[in-house]
């Protein structure tokens, strides 16, 4: 199989980000220029795991487990390793980066949630929490891939922040993790959009999961919270979307998004923070209270709400003003 999907790379590997830096006379990405020891440690962890993405495969001794049973075993192991969500689908060319070749025919998705009360704790807190979760995802994917190679005798390759050829959102959608939201992230009924993924591609025969629907695409049409909160005005109005495979995709304007999430020296996570699906489906009263208090804090700090129509603006110290009130 040869991949057909273009994947936006991070940092200086993205030509768009390079162009924006050049236009502004910057040599480095302001977001990454900031030094946070805890974040550096998490990044170091997934870089340490990069050489372990792939490896030698033990002889396949055969197994009497059916694909469905094997899928159940893999899910149990992933959860044991710390995954909050696990799903799997057949690998397709559109899930793989352009020109990537592989013999693998399955992709396993895992995800770990971010702690909502932690991410609301300020720009440093959300930054470190996101990187912590990414590092944990890298550990889980590495462990799963190693298990498949060494104990089950099948090829397996981990995909995470230390290296990936997988287009995340379509895989997560097909694996039943959730529906695509207007902010461009997948929304899960239990964790909202506040989670991070990693993947394993493999030759191990599995049983496919299926997409889920719980009304997100319809709800997003009328909910203005993320697009009003976006300090870069990067989320399009409800009536501007493209369709891919029958799904509405309100493509985020990445050039605008970068002005808030890469060209400022702090982490932007606002579109996820204000997404009501953090509590809407799971019915968690405590999370709902935190969510409502956060929106109230934003309103009190002078930031726009869906009703007032006044969005925050890039250049203000947005996150400092809306986080860390507790």
């Amino acid at each position: 199989m040869i991949g057909t999907s273009w994947i936006r790379r991070q940092d200086m590997e993205d030509p768009l980000l390079n162009r924006l830096l050049q236009e502004r006379g910057l040599d480095d990405v302001p977001f990454f220029a900031r030094r946070l020891p805890a974040r550096e440690n998490h990044m170091r962890r997934w870089m340490e795991l990069t050489p372990e993405r792939d490896g030698a495969v033990a002889p396949n001794t055969g197994s009497d487990r059916t694909p469905a049973e094997t899928a159940g075993d893999i899910k149990a192991l992933a959860r044991e390793l710390g995954a909050d969500m696990v799903g799997m689908v057949r690998l397709r060319p559109e899930f793989l980066e352009i020109d990537t070749e592989t013999d693998h025919d399955w992709v396993i998705a895992i995800a770990v949630h971010e702690h909502y009360d932690t991410v609301l704790g300020g720009p440093d807190a959300v930054d470190v929490e996101a990187f912590r979760v990414y590092a944990h995802c890298a550990e889980i994917a590495t462990g799963l891939a190693r298990h498949i190679r060494e104990n089950l005798g099948h090829e397996a390759r981990a995909h995470h922040n230390g290296g990936t050829e997988i287009q995340a959102i379509p895989v997560l959608h097909q694996a039943g993790f959730g529906e695509l939201g207007k902010h461009g992230s997948l929304i899960n009924p239990e964790f909202g959009a506040s989670f991070r993924p990693a993947f394993v591609t493999t030759t191990l025969p599995l049983e496919a999961d299926t997409p889920i629907e719980f009304g997100v695409q319809d709800y997003c049409v009328n909910c203005r919270l993320c697009d009003q909160a976006c300090p870069a005005d990067a989320i399009p109005p409800s009536d501007q979307f493209i369709e891919t495979g029958g799904l509405k995709r309100w493509l985020v304007d990445i050039e605008k998004c970068y002005t808030a999430c890469r060209l400022l020296p702090e982490y932007c996570h606002l579109c996820v923070d204000v997404c009501p699906y953090i509590h809407k489906e799971n019915g968690n009263a405590e999370t709902k209270n935190i969510f409502k208090a956060f929106l109230a804090e934003r309103k009190a700090a002078g930031f726009g709400t869906a009703k007032s129509g006044a969005a925050a603006s890039v250049g203000e110290n947005t996150r400092d003003r809306v986080r860390g009130f507790r």
């Binding site: 057909t4 999907s5 273009w6 790379r9 940092d11 200086m12 590997e13 993205d14 030509p15 768009l16 390079n18 162009r19 830096l21 050049q22 040599d27 060319p93 559109e94 352009i98 020109d99 399009p236 501007q240 979307f241 493209i242 369709e243 891919t244 995709r249 309100w250 493509l251 304007d253 990445i254 050039e255």
Partner: protein
């Protein structure tokens, strides 16, 4: 499945020598903009690798093509004889609309 080059070539063909065009194709509102030499140099089938992008931060493209349908679904930059650099690319039904428009264009 169409490649980036296939789609970019179609978009350039829609311009028919002009720099911009706005049109409704099969119900999709398109806005296509090209900047660069006329005629546009051939778009390479090769996509610039992330490693090359990282190693050439000062790179500048003489040509840019941006397709809005109605959002930014394809944006590339290139120089003659070099691999193309993708700024944005999202697959979707706009691809079929573009292909149909070309197929049905008067000759």
């Amino acid at each position: 499945m169409s490649t980036v080059k296939d789609l970019a070539d179609l978009a350039l063909a829609m311009l028919d020598g002009g720099e911009t065009r706005q049109a409704s194709l099969l119900g999709t509102e398109f806005s296509i903009r090209y900047t660069g030499p006329d005629p546009a140099p051939e778009i390479s089938a090769d996509v610039c690798t992330p490693e090359t992008v990282r190693l050439t931060p000062e790179w500048e493209g003489a040509c840019t093509l941006k397709v809005m349908a109605p959002l930014n679904v394809l944006e590339i930059s290139w120089n003659q004889g070099e691999a193309v650099r993708i700024m944005a690319f999202s697959r979707g039904s706009w691809e079929d609309a573009l292909k149909s428009a070309i197929a049905n264009a008067p000759r």
